[in-house]
């Protein structure tokens, strides 16, 4: 449970050294999430080329077409740098995989089912977390423009980043996985080792130019790295068919 700053002061009146330590560590954490101080949240090095300023701009909405490792990787960089991350509406999000990519499970809040009041839930989460990963509930009515604008205002005020699974009309950056292929799995043998994915990013404003990159998502070591273009594996069976032909 958290310790209110006032409480820290209250305790610290008798233990002055403690308070300095707590305040120093607190300021370290808050600064760590924004090392450049230019209003961005850092991302993993391999993803920098996909984003307009090489990072997630605060106060913006970034969408990823489908839930998967890509959006978890986007969140992982900021989380590893000290930001709190809220995941709302994605009960199947695998924290294990996200932790492998760099997400800090200690600083993660999960709201698997935000229910029909999800805009309020997201607004509350944005008050506390710098990064919120959201998949709007499917059965909910389509988001009205007014609610959306109010959420975006909260986002800008809180200097957070909203990662949305699916579509969001005012999104600054949109990413999607075009193709992907796994290596390591044969016909009855082997195991999944790494996945080569082609990711494309577009959007509006400074993100208008479409960028496409090949990524290992995940690489053999569990992280994310850029891949050379022929990195996509050809399934062995198809290869055999070609040979036979």
């Amino acid at each position: 449970m958290g310790i209110a700053s006032t409480e820290i002061r209250r305790i610290s009146s008798t233990q002055p050294r403690l308070s300095v330590a707590a305040e120093v560590s607190g300021s370290l954490v808050s600064r760590a999430a924004d090392p450049a101080g230019d209003g961005t949240l850092p991302v993993l090095p391999a993803l920098r080329e996909l984003l307009p300023r090489g990072a997630l701009a605060r106060g913006t909405v970034v969408t990823v077409a489908e839930f998967g490792l890509l959006i978890l990787a986007l969140a992982a960089g900021a989380s590893a740098a000290g930001a709190w991350c809220g995941i709302a509406g994605v009960p199947e999000a695998s924290v294990l995989a996200a932790a492998g990519l760099g997400l800090d499970a200690e600083r993660t809040l999960l709201v698997p089912d935000p229910g029909h009041a999800w805009p309020q839930v997201v607004a509350s989460l944005l008050d506390g977390c710098e990064l919120v990963l959201l998949r709007p509930p499917a059965q909910a009515p389509p988001l009205g423009a007014q609610v959306r604008q109010r959420l975006e205002a909260t986002l800008r005020r809180g200097r957070g980043v909203l990662l949305v699974v699916g579509d969001w009309p005012g999104a600054q950056v949109r990413l999607r996985v075009l193709t992907q292929g796994w290596t390591g799995l044969g016909d009855g043998h082997g195991r999944l080792r790494a996945c080569c994915a082609q990711v494309t990013a577009g959007g509006r404003g400074e993100a208008a130019a479409t960028r496409t990159r090949w990524l290992w998502l995940p690489a053999e070591d569990g992280g994310v790295s850029t891949a050379e273009p022929p990195g996509i594996p050809v399934p062995e069976r198809r290869l055999q068919a070609v040979r036979a032909g």
Partner: protein
């Protein structure tokens, strides 16, 4: 007055007896498991005599399904003997009252063997009673060793050796023993003999060591007329919280959690536990009350709505009270949940419930789903299975990005369209060729590996699972973690 219960099975049952007793007399001493003592004079006067009081108590205890006997005498030792006699299976009446001054006479009739405990007295006792008796003797011995015979007066304090010796000397009853001069008994048997002699004469009774009833640490405020606006309630909550924290601090206590209970005029009640850990100020507690009320009742647009809606009682109850030992923050290595995050999480909890906001804890386990345990925000983050020991049977390699909370049904077929089956010895009927998840469009399987058998927790029928797991690669570039369990295909996770 001593109450002696027979046939008690658990400490919880005895607890119920004690609770029932406190309705008659707040100061009760639990002498030993199944036996408790209390001063009879006060309550007896109130309830109209000792016999009447005893009958009421027996009825109250019998309501919780426990048989008991009650003895009343001038002293703990005699009262216990009387209660034991009254509680015996063959007793005609469950209450035995020794009139004032009649105690030496009652004791004189008792055989000396009562000094050694009930197992020799109740010759025909059932096995369970005998067990209780043994426990008694052991406990008494310990007390004698640590606190000396004076403190143990009134307990069974002599072993069977002394009893046998007394019998051999021709002292069959306590009366015979009491008739001897005290000096002679003391010189022959020492301090123990002296104590026994005093007991036999009906003296040497010690005062009861009663535990005072626990003070009520909770605080409450009633609102009359019912308060329909949240603000005054929150304002009152701040004062209440100050009072409660002060009350705890005066006793050197703190509590782990605080229960906030609000009762509406129409009888509805909202209870919620908030983590405290000795860290919340009165203002922070008032915030919790506000969030709880916000989440409970949708905000009222019309302030002068039906007054039935108002809150009549607000109560703050400290939960898990512990000694205040102070709190030391870690300098490094501990993620401190900042106030901002805690507020956000608690506001969502107030909206959706305590279980709706979770923090993941990574642990061990053979399954991808087992390795992450979600703990409600504010509770101790601890994985169910430790990550430390090796977990043979884990699927190595990349972790799936999607883990379904409930496994999805699937159909896996071979080239001929027949369902693929796995035998108990992990032999596949054919290579899997098509995967259809949840009855959807079949996907071409372009690569697969497995089966990797897993038989877990066979000793626990509820948790036992026996499965064969596969990794499947489909034509659209996705990979799946599937398992055959009970000859059904399930998709547990997806790699994308």
């Amino acid at each position: 007055m001593v109450l002696c219960c027979t046939g008690l099975r658990t400490a919880r049952e005895f607890d119920r007896v004690l609770t029932a007793l406190t309705a008659f007399c707040p100061a009760v001493e639990a002498v030993e498991p199944g036996v408790c003592a209390f001063g009879a004079r006060g309550p007896a006067r109130y309830f109209g005599g000792e016999t009447a009081l005893a009958s009421r108590i027996i009825a109250a205890v019998a309501e919780s399904g426990i048989e008991s006997g009650i003895g009343v005498a001038d002293g703990l030792f005699a009262a216990r003997l009387a209660a034991r006699t009254a509680g015996e299976a063959g007793a005609t009446h469950p209450v035995l009252v020794i009139p004032p001054g009649g105690t030496p006479e009652f004791l004189a009739r008792q055989p000396v063997s009562v000094l050694a405990g009930p197992e020799t007295t109740v010759g025909q006792a059932t096995a369970r009673q005998a067990t209780v008796g043994q426990a008694t003797v052991r406990q008494a011995t310990v007390r004698q060793a640590t606190a000396g015979p004076e403190a143990a007066a009134g307990q069974d304090l002599v072993g069977p050796d002394l009893v046998a010796l007394l019998s051999r000397l021709g002292l069959r009853t306590l009366g015979d023993l009491a008739a001897l001069p005290a000096d002679d008994v003391a010189s022959r048997f020492g301090a123990v003999g002296e104590t026994v002699h005093r007991l036999a004469r009906g003296l040497g009774s010690r005062p009861l060591a009663v535990r005072p009833p626990a003070g009520d640490l909770s605080v409450a405020q009633e609102f009359d007329p019912p308060e329909s606006l949240a603000e005054p309630v929150v304002f009152a909550a701040k004062t209440l919280a100050e009072r409660m924290l002060q009350g705890l601090a005066d006793r050197g206590l703190t509590c782990v959690r605080i229960q906030v209970r609000a009762v509406c005029a129409d009888g509805r009640e909202s209870r919620r536990l908030w983590r405290h850990d000795g860290l919340l100020s009165a203002a922070a507690l008032a915030d919790r009350v506000r969030w709880q009320l916000d989440g409970w009742r949708p905000p009222t647009e019309n302030p002068d709505r039906d007054a039935d809606d108002g809150i009549t009682v607000l109560r703050l109850i400290p939960d898990q009270v512990v000694h205040a030992t102070g709190h030391q923050l870690a300098l490094w290595g501990e993620t401190v949940v900042s106030d901002r995050v805690a507020r956000a999480a608690m506001r969502v909890q107030a909206m959706l419930g305590h279980e709706a906001v979770l923090r993941p804890a990574l642990g061990g386990g053979r399954d991808v789903a087992d390795r992450v345990n979600d703990v409600p925000f504010g509770e101790k983050r601890e994985p169910r299975l430790a990550a430390g020991p090796p977990w043979p049977g884990q699927i190595m390699g990349a972790a799936p990005g999607v883990v379904y909370p409930f496994a999805r049904e699937a159909d896996v077929t071979d080239e001929a369209g027949e369902a693929v089956t796995v035998t108990g010895r992990c032999v596949l009927s054919a290579a899997p060729a098509w995967l259809a998840a949840d009855g959807g469009e079949p996907l071409r399987i372009t690569g697969w590996a497995g089966p990797w058998p897993l038989s877990e927790r066979w000793w626990d029928p509820a948790a036992a699972r026996r499965r064969a797991r596969f990794q499947l690669l489909t034509g659209d570039g996705r990979a799946w973690l599937a398992a055959v369990q009970g000859s059904r295909w399930l998709i547990e996770a997806g790699y994308w």
